[in-house]
């Protein structure tokens, strides 16, 4: 080998070992010098190095690492989590786009920007998480419905486990579409409550021109009212997520339904009965703006903002609560996994 070839060989070796752990570098460099030295006795240096190929690939062979970020073992869970995160991001982008539309009138650029940036961030975060799990070899099973029983996880599958894992009754499964629709409404409603509660009310037009909105709610006290509304919505949100993740009725879903139902009912009761939720000026404002007068017991508007009105709503909420928790308990007991 002439001087230039010597130099090229060293360059090649450097490009291999720079990708390797420090303590292996010297030894592998020595090995490579030996191998290349032997090879050039029968071929040119160019042929020898071409045979050894791309230094980076050679280095990865030396590292003995798998050349993937997420192995097939994790791939299913990865795709599944990614899907959920992407759906959530899509929904929140659409919702914030709708809210922006009301607030600023420009929704298009906002929604696209939101989608791109939060989409990328979500994708990156999920991928990073799974790459870390892969690296440290942490096995998590995210879908309880898939893991069947703890017994199988511990002892591995055997013929006897079939006894404990019947095909689930279809009625025991939770509809994903229902959960997603419920989540979308929760998010939209939360968005409106946070960013634009003033949108709910009576719209006053004068000569075809928009004049003002008479709000249903007591916006002056909104900073006290809002947290309680959000608490209820959040409980509902978590409950829906748990339903979605579990995918079928089980004790955890039942427990979550009961807890979230109680939280939602209490927060509604507090908002309706304790806090000054309703705008006192709503009825006078509407009467004045629309030249109306609400009289008589059978005119619903006379009752607006009264305890009677709140009680009716609370009663409806209570019925919904009973029906929801009731069906969940019924389905869990009848079809759920014990």
């Amino acid at each position: 080998m002439n001087k230039q070839e010597q130099e090229y060989m060293e360059r090649y070796i450097y490009q291999v070992v720079r990708w390797l752990p420090k303590k292996q570098r010297d030894e592998i460099a020595m090995e490579l010098r030996e191998i290349i030295g032997d090879m050039v006795e029968e071929m040119t240096l160019e042929e020898a190095l071409t045979k050894l190929g791309d230094p980076q690939i050679l280095a990865s062979q030396y590292r003995g690492e798998h050349s993937y970020v997420i192995s097939s073992e994790y791939y299913d869970d990865y795709v599944w989590v990614l899907k959920i995160v992407m759906i959530a991001i899509g929904i929140s982008a659409v919702v914030s786009g709708i809210v922006q539309l009301f607030v600023t009138g420009d929704w298009f650029s906002n929604i696209i920007g939101q989608l791109i940036s939060s989409g990328l961030a979500g994708f990156g975060a999920v991928t990073l998480l799974f790459a870390a799990l892969e690296r440290w070899n942490v096995k998590v099973d995210l879908r309880e419905a898939r893991t069947q029983t703890a017994d199988i996880l511990e002892k591995g599958w055997s013929y006897a486990t079939l006894e404990k894992t019947p095909i689930p009754d279809k009625k025991g499964l939770i509809s994903r579409a229902d959960c997603v629709i419920s989540l979308i409404f929760t998010v939209i409603f939360s968005g409106v409550m946070i960013f634009a509660p003033q949108l709910l009310g009576a719209y006053v037009f004068e000569n075809g021109q928009f004049e003002k909105v008479i709000s249903l709610f007591n916006l002056e006290q909104w900073h006290i009212i809002l947290p309680f509304i959000l608490l209820g919505l959040m409980a509902g949100f978590v409950d829906d997520v748990i339903h979605l993740v579990q995918g079928r009725y089980c004790n955890m879903v039942m427990l979550s339904s009961i807890i979230s139902g109680v939280i939602q009912f209490i927060s509604t009761a507090v908002v309706l009965k304790v806090l000054p939720l309703w705008n006192e000026n709503f009825i006078p404002g509407v009467e004045q703006s629309f030249n109306l007068e609400f009289t008589g017991d059978f005119d619903l508007m006379t009752h607006f903002g009264t305890p009677f009105f709140s009680n009716i709503i609370l009663m409806i909420m209570f019925l919904i609560f009973c029906v929801e928790v009731g069906t969940t308990v019924y389905n869990t007991v009848k079809y759920g996994r014990k």
Binding site: E31, E34, I35, D38, M39, G53, L58, Q61, Y62, G64
Partner: protein, 116 residues
């Protein structure tokens, strides 16, 4: 066509990969250095890419099947590999497995041919 060629290439590669360790183990009863090993395999028609073989030798050493020693006496320092006792046992077990498998495979393929 090109796709079929790729597919076939991949399948052949996979088939060969399974025999790699056995091929290498068979050659290192006595100490051999890297390039000599390539040569002796190549002479018998077994082609292993250089960038696969050398890292594989290190891996087998790490697994305890091979042991290596640098010979610095010559003009050029050389690393010699040979089978350890454990490598010996594993090699013999693999060899039996292979012989068994090749008999069965031959039968299987012959049967297949009769149906053609």
């Amino acid at each position: 066509m090109a796709e079929e060629k790729d597919l076939l290439g991949n399948l052949i590669l996979e088939l060969r990969r399974g025999t790699l360790v056995l091929s290498v183990l068979s050659q290192v009863q006595t100490p051999k250095y890297g390039y000599a090993l390539t040569q002796s395999l190549e002479n018998q028609g077994i082609i292993i890419e250089a960038n696969t073989l050398y890292p594989l030798l290190r891996r087998l050493e790490k697994q305890g099947l091979l042991i290596s020693e640098w010979d610095t006496g010559e003009s050029k320092p050389r690393k010699y590999y040979r089978r350890t006792q454990e490598g010996e046992r594993v090699y013999k077990a693999l060899r039996t497995q292979w012989q068994d498998m090749s008999v069965r495979m031959a039968q299987l393929l012959e049967e297949g041919e009769n149906y053609e």
